[in-house]
Amino acid sequence: MLRQLRSAAIAVVLFTVLLGLAYPLAITGVAQLLWTHEANGSRIERAGRTVGSTLIAQDFSGVARYFQSRPSASAYESTRTAASNLGPNSQRLSVEIQARMTAFLRRERPFDPGLSAASVPADAVTASGSGVDPDISLADARIQAHRGAAVRHLPLAAVLRLIEARTESSAGGLFGPSYLDVLGLNLALDEGRGR
């Protein structure tokens, strides 16, 4: 038993150094060298300043010219990510979804008069799993395009074309639905694309 404990102690120390320091540091080195952009958080730089990350949602609420991210249960904070964790039969969840629906319609209907609750996609009124989901569905983006175009005085067709061009999908749709990253879309519009 004592011999086994001695071996165990040596093993814990050696493997902590090998797997806890050497391995992650080596991977960090290679990753920083070969995939600098990804390894540091897929940041978007403008004029030497980091304005966000392609992979982390930002809070655009209250700013009419911007496309809105999906609802977040954690105030879009990547330091304390969270989902709502409300159950499928939760009264509270139902009330929250209703409130999000009302807010969505109040925001978009003035620019898209034909909009009804039935045509609002589920992703626009449900909180994401991470709280920082950077993407929205194509259907959501097409509704918001009316507001985006009107506030920025752009032709709707041009905004819709920009949306089509920025839509991504994994392996032609095999690994997931099509989606757009909201921050990238808003930046593109700010920079005058879609004119």
Partner: protein
Amino acid sequence: MTASGWLQIVVLIAALSALTPLLGGYIHHVFSGERVLLARAIGPAERRLTRLLAGEEPAGQDWRSYAVSVLAFSALCWLALFVILRAQGIEPLNPQGFGAPPWNLSFNAASSFISNTGWQFYGGQSTLSDFSQMAGITVHSFLSGAVGLAVAIAITRGFANRTKTHLGNFWVDLVRALLYVLLPLAVAGSLFLVAEGSVQTLATSVQLSTLAAGRQTLALGPVASQKVITLLSSDGGGFYGVNSAMPYEDPTGLANFVEALMVLAIPAALTSTYGRMVGNRRQGWALYGVMALMLLGGAAVAYSAEARPSPAMRVAGVHGQNLEGKEQRFSVADSTLAAVAGTASGDGATNAALDSYTGLGGSIPMANMMTGEVIFGGVGSGLFGMLLMVLLAVFIAGLMVGRTPEYLGKKIEAREIKMVTVGVIAVPLIVLFMSAWAISARYGLRSIFNAGPQGFSETLYAYTSQANNNGSAFAGYVGFVQPHAPGNAGSSGVTFADLAGGSAMLLGRFLPMFVALAVAGSLSGKRTIAAGAGTMRTDTVIFAVLLLATISIVALLTFVPSLMLGPIVQALTGRLF
């Protein structure tokens, strides 16, 4: 539901089936000491390490001696991790200055990662420093996975041995599992994840002002190197609190698919390794077939359930799929596939909030775990858990035809069957006992987040997941309160939930493991009888069906009443609570 969603499920099973004999053959070569491709690079380090741990001439160990080594090693691992967590405040690589997590949370976390569970009451990025993530969580994800792998190989040797009684040497197996299997796969896998968008840096955070002139912090860290080993070793802990839902952990649909494959790869491959080691590869395929069928069934049910709106959505007048707690870059098929792969295997990494799954959808992850984690299961533990089920099925078949049961030509006698019974019912007993305790005591109810049947489901899920060493969660269940996140100032653990869960993880890990080792020890060296006309073959479709029935009946008899009280009630009603 879409055609591409169903196609993805089929593609995953196909890829896994193709990978299984390749990786299984490789693992067989590694543990039978044959020269493999990586031997030139790894050989010298392996020999030096082995000599240091096991001496010049590593002696074969019988099951007791092997178990003692496992216990000694795991005990020191637990101690090392507990100390790393409790001393976090004075350790390096901690630029945010996080203090130590409270003692009760540390007990739960140390037990979780030593037992290959990956259950987390805490959110990684707001509670642990980079040092704790690297030298603590990453290391013990490797080590607990390697222990499982080594033990599964030792148990297989016991089943295969015709003359000798020793099962190999633990230290030799441990070093091989780490250097030849887990480490190379982890290196390749983490670079793939980084290329897809996963983060890998020692910088912990970046402050920025957003487009809408708000403040935002990007939480960074050595994510990919940790993520990949928690997937490969069926540990399943996340660098971030929300695990694979976080884009920095699981950035794309393709990454998600590969992550699901990584979770299943080694547990599946071990069926093939097993077939090779016992000298009949069809024995391995029979096990694989049962596992794959159960995985497919679970994925189909969960996918069709989640592709519909939840009652909460219906009442709010929203249609479409149940996207509460799911990410837009993943389809519902991606999400359910990760949930099913994560719970059928012992991994537990998921990319969605399972607490928000529909009643039926949420019952699938639970049912997967309630089989005793034998649908692929954890690295190693899935295989030996399944072997206990095989012996039970052989015994039941023997009773039905009135013959002494035998497996691989060895007689299965009262001694083995008694041990198998203990191994099979130990974990369900822990689950039911802990859940009942937690639901009937005031201090147990404290952890519940949702009202109504979902609160019971959260409790049942918590102890099912922890006792079966899975680690996925209905994450509303609380075991840690952190008022000023990030950092641990003013935080406290929920003592009952932390200790009950921690104990469930340790018992659920080591009880079945030692029982399986004892059974292997008992079978090792047993005389084999040549197969005759009356021998029941165990490598046929008929036996696979019998095995499937045995697993289902045991799980159903044990858990149907408790499932009725939680997820099934919610699946049957449109009522809100």
